[in-house]
Protein backbone atom coordinates (compact mmCIF):
# COMPACT_ATOMS: atom_id res chain seq x y z
CA UNK A 1 0.00 0.00 0.00
CA UNK A 2 2.79 2.36 0.94
CA UNK A 3 4.42 1.63 -2.41
CA UNK A 4 1.26 2.55 -4.30
CA UNK A 5 0.69 5.80 -2.41
CA UNK A 6 4.29 6.78 -2.84
CA UNK A 7 4.08 6.03 -6.55
CA UNK A 8 0.81 7.90 -7.12
CA UNK A 9 1.83 10.93 -5.11
CA UNK A 10 4.57 11.51 -7.66
CA UNK A 11 3.17 13.98 -10.18
CA UNK A 12 5.25 12.54 -13.02
CA UNK A 13 3.92 9.01 -12.55
CA UNK A 14 0.40 10.41 -12.26
CA UNK A 15 0.49 12.25 -15.60
CA UNK A 16 2.16 9.17 -17.08
CA UNK A 17 -0.79 7.02 -16.01
CA UNK A 18 -3.23 9.54 -17.48
CA UNK A 19 -1.43 9.47 -20.78
CA UNK A 20 -1.36 5.66 -20.64
CA UNK A 21 -5.13 5.68 -20.16
CA UNK A 22 -5.47 8.04 -23.13
CA UNK A 23 -3.30 5.80 -25.32
CA UNK A 24 -5.27 2.68 -24.37
CA UNK A 25 -8.57 4.48 -25.09
CA UNK A 26 -7.21 5.31 -28.54
CA UNK A 27 -6.49 1.56 -28.99
CA UNK A 28 -2.78 2.15 -29.64
CA UNK A 29 -0.40 -0.82 -29.92
CA UNK A 30 1.44 -2.04 -26.83
CA UNK A 31 4.79 -0.55 -27.82
CA UNK A 32 3.14 2.84 -28.53
CA UNK A 33 1.50 2.73 -25.10
CA UNK A 34 4.79 1.97 -23.35
CA UNK A 35 6.73 4.55 -25.35
CA UNK A 36 4.08 7.26 -24.89
CA UNK A 37 3.78 6.63 -21.15
CA UNK A 38 7.54 6.63 -20.59
CA UNK A 39 7.99 9.80 -22.64
CA UNK A 40 5.28 11.56 -20.67
CA UNK A 41 6.95 10.70 -17.35
CA UNK A 42 10.42 11.61 -18.61
CA UNK A 43 9.04 14.86 -20.04
CA UNK A 44 7.59 15.71 -16.65
CA UNK A 45 10.93 15.02 -14.98
CA UNK A 46 12.71 17.25 -17.51
CA UNK A 47 10.13 19.94 -16.72
CA UNK A 48 11.08 19.61 -13.02
CA UNK A 49 14.78 19.92 -13.81
CA UNK A 50 14.11 23.11 -15.79
CA UNK A 51 11.94 24.41 -12.95
CA UNK A 52 14.68 23.90 -10.39
CA UNK A 53 17.25 25.61 -12.62
CA UNK A 54 15.00 28.64 -13.12
CA UNK A 55 14.52 28.84 -9.36
CA UNK A 56 18.29 29.14 -8.82
CA UNK A 57 18.84 32.02 -11.27
CA UNK A 58 15.73 33.82 -10.04
CA UNK A 59 17.01 33.73 -6.47
CA UNK A 60 20.25 35.38 -7.60
CA UNK A 61 18.28 37.98 -9.50
CA UNK A 62 16.03 38.74 -6.51
CA UNK A 63 18.99 39.22 -4.21
CA UNK A 64 20.69 41.68 -6.57
CA UNK A 65 17.53 43.60 -7.37
CA UNK A 66 16.44 43.81 -3.74
CA UNK A 67 19.85 44.98 -2.52
CA UNK A 68 20.28 47.37 -5.45
CA UNK A 69 16.93 49.12 -5.48
CA UNK A 70 15.43 48.29 -2.08
CA UNK A 71 12.30 47.07 -3.85
CA UNK A 72 11.17 43.72 -5.21
CA UNK A 73 11.56 43.27 -8.96
CA UNK A 74 9.26 40.63 -10.36
CA UNK A 75 9.71 38.89 -13.72
CA UNK A 76 6.34 38.56 -15.45
CA UNK A 77 7.22 35.23 -17.04
CA UNK A 78 4.56 32.57 -16.66
CA UNK A 79 6.99 29.66 -17.09
CA UNK A 80 9.16 30.95 -14.24
CA UNK A 81 6.19 31.38 -11.90
CA UNK A 82 4.95 27.90 -12.78
CA UNK A 83 8.43 26.57 -12.07
CA UNK A 84 8.30 27.99 -8.54
CA UNK A 85 4.80 26.66 -7.89
CA UNK A 86 5.83 23.27 -9.24
CA UNK A 87 8.39 22.88 -6.47
CA UNK A 88 5.71 23.38 -3.80
CA UNK A 89 2.44 21.92 -5.06
CA UNK A 90 3.45 19.80 -8.06
CA UNK A 91 1.15 16.85 -7.47
CA UNK A 92 -1.96 18.91 -6.71
CA UNK A 93 -1.35 21.07 -9.77
CA UNK A 94 -1.10 17.95 -11.93
CA UNK A 95 -4.36 16.55 -10.53
CA UNK A 96 -6.17 19.90 -10.98
CA UNK A 97 -4.99 19.95 -14.59
CA UNK A 98 -6.23 16.44 -15.27
CA UNK A 99 -9.63 17.07 -13.60
CA UNK A 100 -9.75 20.27 -15.66
CA UNK A 101 -9.45 18.25 -18.88
CA UNK A 102 -12.23 15.92 -17.77
CA UNK A 103 -14.49 18.80 -16.71
CA UNK A 104 -13.84 20.56 -20.03
CA UNK A 105 -15.20 17.48 -21.82
CA UNK A 106 -18.16 17.39 -19.43
CA UNK A 107 -19.08 21.07 -19.97
CA UNK A 108 -18.64 20.80 -23.75
CA UNK A 109 -20.87 17.73 -23.83
CA UNK A 110 -23.69 18.93 -21.58
CA UNK A 111 -23.76 22.74 -21.70
CA UNK A 112 -23.89 25.33 -24.52
CA UNK A 113 -20.15 26.04 -23.98
CA UNK A 114 -18.71 23.91 -26.74
CA UNK A 115 -15.00 24.78 -26.75
CA UNK A 116 -12.38 22.09 -26.21
CA UNK A 117 -9.28 23.82 -24.87
CA UNK A 118 -6.24 22.28 -26.54
CA UNK A 119 -3.40 24.55 -25.42
CA UNK A 120 -1.96 22.11 -22.89
CA UNK A 121 0.69 24.39 -21.38
CA UNK A 122 -1.98 26.99 -20.57
CA UNK A 123 -4.05 24.37 -18.79
CA UNK A 124 -0.97 23.63 -16.69
CA UNK A 125 -0.29 27.31 -15.88
CA UNK A 126 -3.92 28.04 -15.05
CA UNK A 127 -4.05 24.92 -12.85
CA UNK A 128 -1.06 26.39 -11.03
CA UNK A 129 -2.75 29.75 -10.46
CA UNK A 130 -6.00 28.18 -9.20
CA UNK A 131 -4.11 25.83 -6.89
CA UNK A 132 -2.03 28.68 -5.47
CA UNK A 133 -5.08 30.88 -4.85
CA UNK A 134 -6.94 28.11 -3.01
CA UNK A 135 -3.84 27.06 -1.09
CA UNK A 136 -3.28 30.68 -0.04
CA UNK A 137 -6.77 30.52 1.52
CA UNK A 138 -5.77 27.34 3.39
CA UNK A 139 -8.28 25.22 1.49
CA UNK A 140 -7.62 21.50 1.88
CA UNK A 141 -6.37 19.31 -0.98
CA UNK A 142 -9.67 17.60 -1.84
CA UNK A 143 -11.60 20.86 -2.13
CA UNK A 144 -8.71 22.47 -4.05
CA UNK A 145 -8.81 19.65 -6.58
CA UNK A 146 -12.61 19.75 -6.99
CA UNK A 147 -13.01 23.54 -7.10
CA UNK A 148 -9.83 24.13 -9.10
CA UNK A 149 -10.55 21.37 -11.61
CA UNK A 150 -14.17 22.45 -12.14
CA UNK A 151 -13.27 26.11 -12.58
CA UNK A 152 -10.47 25.16 -14.97
CA UNK A 153 -12.81 22.98 -17.03
CA UNK A 154 -15.46 25.69 -17.11
CA UNK A 155 -12.99 28.39 -18.16
CA UNK A 156 -11.69 26.06 -20.87
CA UNK A 157 -15.15 25.47 -22.31
CA UNK A 158 -16.52 29.01 -21.87
CA UNK A 159 -13.80 31.68 -22.15
CA UNK A 160 -12.82 31.06 -25.80
CA UNK A 161 -16.44 31.96 -26.64
CA UNK A 162 -15.71 35.59 -25.74
CA UNK A 163 -13.37 35.83 -28.71
CA UNK A 164 -15.42 33.87 -31.23
CA UNK A 165 -17.04 36.77 -33.10
CA UNK A 166 -13.56 38.19 -33.75
CA UNK A 167 -12.13 34.77 -34.59
CA UNK A 168 -14.77 34.48 -37.34
CA UNK A 169 -13.57 37.82 -38.71
CA UNK A 170 -9.88 36.86 -38.52
CA UNK A 171 -9.99 33.33 -39.88
CA UNK A 172 -12.98 33.72 -42.19
CA UNK A 173 -14.84 30.73 -40.78
CA UNK A 174 -16.29 29.42 -37.52
CA UNK A 175 -14.33 26.18 -37.18
CA UNK A 176 -11.51 27.48 -34.99
CA UNK A 177 -11.59 29.00 -31.49
CA UNK A 178 -8.73 30.67 -29.67
CA UNK A 179 -7.37 28.84 -26.61
CA UNK A 180 -5.00 31.28 -24.94
CA UNK A 181 -5.85 32.64 -21.50
CA UNK A 182 -5.96 36.33 -22.32
CA UNK A 183 -9.45 36.04 -23.78
CA UNK A 184 -10.72 39.06 -21.88
CA UNK A 185 -7.90 41.22 -23.29
CA UNK A 186 -8.27 39.87 -26.84
CA UNK A 187 -12.03 40.42 -26.88
CA UNK A 188 -11.48 43.93 -25.52
CA UNK A 189 -8.85 44.58 -28.18
CA UNK A 190 -11.33 43.55 -30.87
CA UNK A 191 -13.99 45.81 -29.33
CA UNK A 192 -11.58 48.73 -28.96
CA UNK A 193 -10.46 48.34 -32.57
CA UNK A 194 -14.01 48.84 -33.79
CA UNK A 195 -14.15 52.14 -31.87
CA UNK A 196 -10.80 53.68 -32.85
CA UNK A 197 -10.08 52.56 -36.38
CA UNK A 198 -11.12 51.13 -39.69
CA UNK A 199 -10.44 47.50 -40.71
CA UNK A 200 -9.80 48.71 -44.27
CA UNK A 201 -6.54 50.32 -43.08
CA UNK A 202 -5.02 46.94 -42.29
CA UNK A 203 -1.53 46.44 -40.84
CA UNK A 204 -0.92 43.98 -43.66
CA UNK A 205 -0.35 46.91 -46.04
CA UNK A 206 2.95 47.62 -44.23
CA UNK A 207 6.25 45.75 -44.21
CA UNK A 208 8.59 45.65 -41.23
CA UNK A 209 12.41 45.45 -41.24
CA UNK A 210 13.66 41.89 -41.29
CA UNK A 211 15.78 41.99 -38.12
CA UNK A 212 12.66 42.34 -35.97
CA UNK A 213 11.93 38.71 -36.71
CA UNK A 214 14.61 37.63 -34.21
CA UNK A 215 11.92 38.19 -31.60
CA UNK A 216 9.98 35.37 -33.21
CA UNK A 217 12.57 33.07 -31.71
CA UNK A 218 11.38 32.38 -28.21
CA UNK A 219 14.73 31.46 -26.65
CA UNK A 220 16.42 34.46 -28.23
CA UNK A 221 13.72 36.74 -26.90
CA UNK A 222 14.09 35.50 -23.33
CA UNK A 223 17.89 35.55 -23.49
CA UNK A 224 18.19 39.15 -24.74
CA UNK A 225 15.79 40.59 -22.20
CA UNK A 226 17.08 38.57 -19.25
CA UNK A 227 20.72 39.49 -19.91
CA UNK A 228 19.74 43.18 -19.90
CA UNK A 229 17.61 42.76 -16.78
CA UNK A 230 20.43 40.92 -14.96
CA UNK A 231 22.94 43.66 -15.85
CA UNK A 232 20.58 46.37 -14.56
CA UNK A 233 20.17 44.50 -11.27
CA UNK A 234 23.90 43.77 -11.00
CA UNK A 235 24.97 47.40 -11.55
CA UNK A 236 22.37 48.57 -9.03
CA UNK A 237 23.54 46.04 -6.45
CA UNK A 238 27.24 46.77 -6.94
CA UNK A 239 30.39 44.67 -7.03
CA UNK A 240 30.33 43.44 -3.42
CA UNK A 241 26.86 41.92 -3.59
CA UNK A 242 27.47 40.32 -7.00
CA UNK A 243 30.83 38.90 -5.89
CA UNK A 244 29.03 37.27 -2.97
CA UNK A 245 26.74 35.41 -5.42
CA UNK A 246 29.16 34.80 -8.28
CA UNK A 247 31.46 32.37 -6.48
CA UNK A 248 34.63 33.43 -8.24
CA UNK A 249 33.14 34.50 -11.57
CA UNK A 250 33.98 38.12 -12.42
CA UNK A 251 31.09 40.39 -11.45
CA UNK A 252 30.85 41.84 -14.95
CA UNK A 253 30.58 38.37 -16.52
CA UNK A 254 28.15 36.94 -13.96
CA UNK A 255 25.03 38.81 -15.23
CA UNK A 256 25.69 37.65 -18.80
CA UNK A 257 26.02 34.02 -17.71
CA UNK A 258 22.97 34.25 -15.44
CA UNK A 259 20.80 35.79 -18.17
CA UNK A 260 21.81 33.04 -20.58
CA UNK A 261 21.38 30.43 -17.85
CA UNK A 262 17.81 31.68 -17.36
CA UNK A 263 17.13 31.21 -21.08
CA UNK A 264 18.75 27.76 -20.96
CA UNK A 265 16.62 26.72 -18.00
CA UNK A 266 13.54 27.99 -19.80
CA UNK A 267 14.49 25.93 -22.85
CA UNK A 268 14.79 22.79 -20.71
CA UNK A 269 11.48 23.53 -19.02
CA UNK A 270 9.66 24.02 -22.33
CA UNK A 271 11.19 20.85 -23.79
CA UNK A 272 9.84 18.97 -20.78
CA UNK A 273 6.40 20.53 -21.05
CA UNK A 274 6.27 19.72 -24.76
CA UNK A 275 7.12 16.08 -24.07
CA UNK A 276 4.71 15.55 -21.23
CA UNK A 277 1.66 17.26 -22.72
CA UNK A 278 1.95 15.84 -26.22
CA UNK A 279 0.46 12.40 -25.55
CA UNK A 280 -2.20 13.83 -23.23
CA UNK A 281 -3.22 16.45 -25.80
CA UNK A 282 -3.36 13.80 -28.54
CA UNK A 283 -5.68 11.70 -26.37
CA UNK A 284 -7.76 14.76 -25.55
CA UNK A 285 -8.18 15.55 -29.26
CA UNK A 286 -9.10 11.94 -30.07
CA UNK A 287 -11.65 11.69 -27.24
CA UNK A 288 -13.31 15.03 -27.99
CA UNK A 289 -13.53 14.35 -31.73
CA UNK A 290 -15.09 10.96 -31.10
CA UNK A 291 -17.55 11.72 -28.32
CA UNK A 292 -18.31 15.45 -28.66
CA UNK A 293 -18.75 15.90 -32.38
CA UNK A 294 -20.25 19.41 -32.26
CA UNK A 295 -17.43 20.81 -30.13
CA UNK A 296 -15.01 23.48 -31.35
CA UNK A 297 -11.23 23.18 -30.86
CA UNK A 298 -9.69 26.16 -29.02
CA UNK A 299 -6.06 26.33 -30.11
CA UNK A 300 -2.86 28.15 -29.20
CA UNK A 301 -2.43 31.78 -30.27
CA UNK A 302 0.11 31.36 -33.11
CA UNK A 303 -2.79 29.79 -35.02
CA UNK A 304 -4.03 33.33 -35.81
CA UNK A 305 -0.59 34.69 -36.77
CA UNK A 306 -0.74 33.57 -40.44
CA UNK A 307 -3.85 35.72 -40.91
CA UNK A 308 -2.05 38.98 -40.03
CA UNK A 309 1.72 38.53 -39.52
CA UNK A 310 2.48 42.26 -39.58
CA UNK A 311 -0.13 42.92 -36.89
CA UNK A 312 1.78 40.44 -34.70
CA UNK A 313 5.02 42.46 -34.94
CA UNK A 314 3.26 45.81 -34.49
CA UNK A 315 1.25 44.38 -31.58
CA UNK A 316 4.43 43.07 -29.97
CA UNK A 317 6.13 46.49 -30.14
CA UNK A 318 3.06 48.28 -28.81
CA UNK A 319 2.52 45.77 -25.97
CA UNK A 320 6.17 45.83 -24.93
CA UNK A 321 6.22 49.64 -24.96
CA UNK A 322 3.07 49.56 -22.82
CA UNK A 323 4.83 47.18 -20.43
CA UNK A 324 7.83 49.50 -20.07
CA UNK A 325 5.52 52.50 -19.50
CA UNK A 326 3.63 50.55 -16.82
CA UNK A 327 6.89 49.59 -15.12
CA UNK A 328 7.91 53.28 -15.20
CA UNK A 329 4.63 54.23 -13.54
CA UNK A 330 5.19 51.64 -10.78
CA UNK A 331 8.68 53.05 -10.12
CA UNK A 332 7.40 56.66 -10.18
CA UNK A 333 4.60 55.81 -7.76
CA UNK A 334 7.12 54.15 -5.45
CA UNK A 335 5.39 50.77 -5.59
CA UNK A 336 7.18 48.29 -3.30
CA UNK A 337 6.83 45.71 -6.08
CA UNK A 338 7.87 46.41 -9.66
CA UNK A 339 6.72 44.12 -12.47
CA UNK A 340 9.28 43.69 -15.26
CA UNK A 341 7.72 43.15 -18.70
CA UNK A 342 8.65 39.95 -20.51
CA UNK A 343 9.40 40.18 -24.22
CA UNK A 344 8.18 36.68 -25.00
CA UNK A 345 4.76 37.28 -23.42
CA UNK A 346 4.57 40.63 -25.21
CA UNK A 347 5.29 38.83 -28.47
CA UNK A 348 2.73 36.04 -28.17
CA UNK A 349 -0.02 37.77 -26.17
CA UNK A 350 0.59 41.33 -27.43
CA UNK A 351 0.89 40.00 -30.97
CA UNK A 352 -2.42 38.17 -30.68
CA UNK A 353 -4.13 41.26 -29.25
CA UNK A 354 -2.72 43.10 -32.27
CA UNK A 355 -4.31 40.62 -34.68
CA UNK A 356 -7.66 41.08 -32.91
CA UNK A 357 -7.44 44.89 -32.90
CA UNK A 358 -6.43 44.88 -36.56
CA UNK A 359 -9.42 42.75 -37.54
CA UNK A 360 -11.85 45.47 -36.46
CA UNK A 361 -9.77 48.65 -36.50
CA UNK A 362 -6.80 48.25 -38.85
CA UNK A 363 -3.40 49.51 -37.69
CA UNK A 364 -4.94 51.93 -35.19
CA UNK A 365 -6.96 49.12 -33.63
CA UNK A 366 -3.86 46.93 -33.57
CA UNK A 367 -1.76 49.50 -31.70
CA UNK A 368 -4.54 50.49 -29.28
CA UNK A 369 -5.64 46.93 -28.50
CA UNK A 370 -2.18 45.54 -27.91
CA UNK A 371 -1.18 48.59 -25.85
CA UNK A 372 -4.07 47.93 -23.46
CA UNK A 373 -3.14 44.24 -23.38
CA UNK A 374 0.48 45.21 -22.61
CA UNK A 375 -0.59 47.38 -19.68
CA UNK A 376 -2.81 44.59 -18.30
CA UNK A 377 -0.10 41.92 -18.65
CA UNK A 378 2.27 43.91 -16.46
CA UNK A 379 -0.10 45.60 -14.00
CA UNK A 380 -2.68 42.91 -13.21
CA UNK A 381 -0.13 40.56 -11.57
CA UNK A 382 0.17 43.17 -8.79
CA UNK A 383 -3.21 41.96 -7.49
CA UNK A 384 -2.23 38.37 -6.79
CA UNK A 385 1.52 38.76 -6.24
CA UNK A 386 1.27 39.43 -2.49
CA UNK A 387 -1.01 36.40 -2.10
CA UNK A 388 1.47 34.13 -3.88
CA UNK A 389 4.50 35.70 -2.19
CA UNK A 390 2.95 34.57 1.09
CA UNK A 391 3.31 30.99 -0.19
CA UNK A 392 6.95 31.59 -1.08
CA UNK A 393 6.39 32.18 -4.81
CA UNK A 394 8.65 35.22 -5.14
CA UNK A 395 10.47 36.91 -7.99
CA UNK A 396 8.19 35.69 -10.77
CA UNK A 397 4.50 36.16 -11.51
CA UNK A 398 1.75 34.98 -13.84
CA UNK A 399 1.09 37.77 -16.36
CA UNK A 400 -1.87 36.36 -18.30
CA UNK A 401 -5.02 38.45 -18.04
CA UNK A 402 -7.57 35.69 -17.44
CA UNK A 403 -5.41 34.09 -14.71
CA UNK A 404 -5.33 37.33 -12.77
CA UNK A 405 -8.96 38.35 -13.17
CA UNK A 406 -10.42 34.91 -12.48
CA UNK A 407 -7.77 34.19 -9.85
CA UNK A 408 -8.57 37.41 -7.99
CA UNK A 409 -12.32 36.76 -8.15
CA UNK A 410 -11.74 33.25 -6.80
CA UNK A 411 -9.57 34.64 -4.01
CA UNK A 412 -12.17 37.24 -2.97
CA UNK A 413 -15.07 34.78 -3.14
CA UNK A 414 -13.20 32.09 -1.20
CA UNK A 415 -12.28 34.60 1.50
CA UNK A 416 -15.89 35.79 1.67
CA UNK A 417 -17.24 32.24 2.02
CA UNK A 418 -14.67 31.47 4.71
CA UNK A 419 -15.62 34.64 6.64
CA UNK A 420 -19.30 33.57 6.56
CA UNK A 421 -18.54 30.02 7.70
CA UNK A 422 -16.22 30.96 10.55
Amino acid sequence: MKVIISLLSNAGILVGLISMLGLILQKKSADDVIKGTAKTIIGFLIFNIGSAAIGVTLTNFNTMFQKGFGITGVVTQVEAATALAQGKFGTIVAIVMVIGFAMNLFFARFTPFKNIFLTGQHSLYFACVLTLVLKACNVNNTVTIIVGGTLLGFSAAALPGLCQRYMRKITGNDSLALGHYNHLAYAFSGFLGSKVGNPEHSTENFKFPKWLSIFRDFTMCVAVVMVIVFYVAAFAAGKTVVDGLAKGVDWLVFPLLQGLQFAAAMYVLITGVRMFISEITAAFVAISEKYIPNSRPAVDCPSVFPFAPTAVILGFISAYAAGLVSMGVMIAMKSPIVMIPSASIAFFSGGTAGVFGNSTGGWKGCIAGSFVAGVLLVSLPLMLYPVFAHLGIVGASFPNVDYNIIGTLLYKITQFIQSVIH
Partner: protein, 94 residues
Protein backbone atom coordinates in the same frame (compact mmCIF):
# COMPACT_ATOMS: atom_id res chain seq x y z
CA UNK B 1 9.70 6.59 -45.71
CA UNK B 2 9.97 10.37 -45.71
CA UNK B 3 10.93 12.35 -42.62
CA UNK B 4 8.79 15.36 -41.79
CA UNK B 5 9.30 17.99 -39.13
CA UNK B 6 6.25 19.79 -37.76
CA UNK B 7 7.48 22.92 -36.01
CA UNK B 8 6.52 26.29 -34.57
CA UNK B 9 8.35 28.93 -32.54
CA UNK B 10 8.28 27.27 -29.14
CA UNK B 11 7.31 23.79 -30.29
CA UNK B 12 4.38 23.78 -27.87
CA UNK B 13 0.75 24.56 -28.65
CA UNK B 14 0.26 25.21 -32.32
CA UNK B 15 2.77 22.75 -33.76
CA UNK B 16 1.55 20.06 -31.38
CA UNK B 17 -1.97 20.29 -32.79
CA UNK B 18 -0.61 20.57 -36.30
CA UNK B 19 1.36 17.35 -35.66
CA UNK B 20 -1.78 15.59 -34.43
CA UNK B 21 -3.66 16.67 -37.55
CA UNK B 22 -0.73 15.77 -39.85
CA UNK B 23 -0.60 12.30 -38.24
CA UNK B 24 -4.34 11.87 -38.81
CA UNK B 25 -3.97 12.82 -42.48
CA UNK B 26 -0.96 10.50 -42.91
CA UNK B 27 -2.82 7.60 -41.33
CA UNK B 28 -6.08 8.12 -43.22
CA UNK B 29 -4.30 8.24 -46.55
CA UNK B 30 -1.53 5.75 -45.85
CA UNK B 31 1.25 8.16 -46.85
CA UNK B 32 4.84 6.86 -46.42
CA UNK B 33 5.73 9.63 -43.95
CA UNK B 34 6.94 9.75 -40.35
CA UNK B 35 6.31 13.11 -38.67
CA UNK B 36 8.19 14.49 -35.69
CA UNK B 37 7.33 17.53 -33.67
CA UNK B 38 9.63 20.21 -32.23
CA UNK B 39 10.57 23.88 -32.34
CA UNK B 40 12.37 25.62 -35.19
CA UNK B 41 15.82 24.80 -33.77
CA UNK B 42 15.28 21.17 -34.73
CA UNK B 43 15.62 22.07 -38.42
CA UNK B 44 19.41 21.92 -38.18
CA UNK B 45 19.48 18.75 -36.11
CA UNK B 46 18.60 16.23 -38.80
CA UNK B 47 18.07 16.10 -42.54
CA UNK B 48 14.35 16.44 -43.15
CA UNK B 49 12.52 15.67 -46.38
CA UNK B 50 10.09 18.44 -45.65
CA UNK B 51 8.80 20.71 -42.90
CA UNK B 52 5.22 21.65 -42.03
CA UNK B 53 4.72 24.97 -40.28
CA UNK B 54 2.38 27.94 -39.95
CA UNK B 55 2.50 30.16 -43.03
CA UNK B 56 3.73 33.27 -41.20
CA UNK B 57 7.08 31.67 -40.33
CA UNK B 58 7.87 29.95 -43.63
CA UNK B 59 9.96 32.91 -44.84
CA UNK B 60 12.43 32.26 -42.00
CA UNK B 61 12.87 28.56 -42.74
CA UNK B 62 12.15 27.78 -46.38
CA UNK B 63 15.78 28.11 -47.49
CA UNK B 64 16.98 25.59 -44.93
CA UNK B 65 14.87 22.61 -46.02
CA UNK B 66 14.24 20.88 -49.36
CA UNK B 67 10.47 21.44 -49.16
CA UNK B 68 8.20 23.48 -46.95
CA UNK B 69 4.46 23.20 -46.43
CA UNK B 70 2.83 26.39 -45.14
CA UNK B 71 -0.46 25.99 -43.28
CA UNK B 72 -2.92 28.79 -42.62
CA UNK B 73 -5.65 27.00 -40.69
CA UNK B 74 -4.01 24.34 -38.54
CA UNK B 75 -7.18 22.31 -37.97
CA UNK B 76 -8.01 22.13 -41.69
CA UNK B 77 -7.19 18.59 -42.80
CA UNK B 78 -7.98 19.33 -46.45
CA UNK B 79 -5.33 22.04 -46.48
CA UNK B 80 -2.79 19.69 -44.87
CA UNK B 81 -3.67 16.93 -47.33
CA UNK B 82 -3.18 19.26 -50.30
CA UNK B 83 0.19 20.33 -48.89
CA UNK B 84 1.42 16.76 -48.45
CA UNK B 85 0.20 15.76 -51.92
CA UNK B 86 2.14 18.72 -53.26
CA UNK B 87 5.27 17.35 -51.58
CA UNK B 88 4.75 13.81 -52.90
CA UNK B 89 4.29 15.16 -56.42
CA UNK B 90 7.44 17.26 -56.02
CA UNK B 91 9.35 14.12 -55.02
CA UNK B 92 7.94 12.01 -57.83
CA UNK B 93 8.91 14.56 -60.44
CA UNK B 94 12.46 14.71 -59.20
Amino acid sequence: MYNALVACRTGMGSSMLLKIKVDQVIKENGYPIVAEHSNLDAIDGKSWDFIVTMSDITDDVKDKVPYCIAIRNLMDKEEIKKGIEGFLEFRNNK
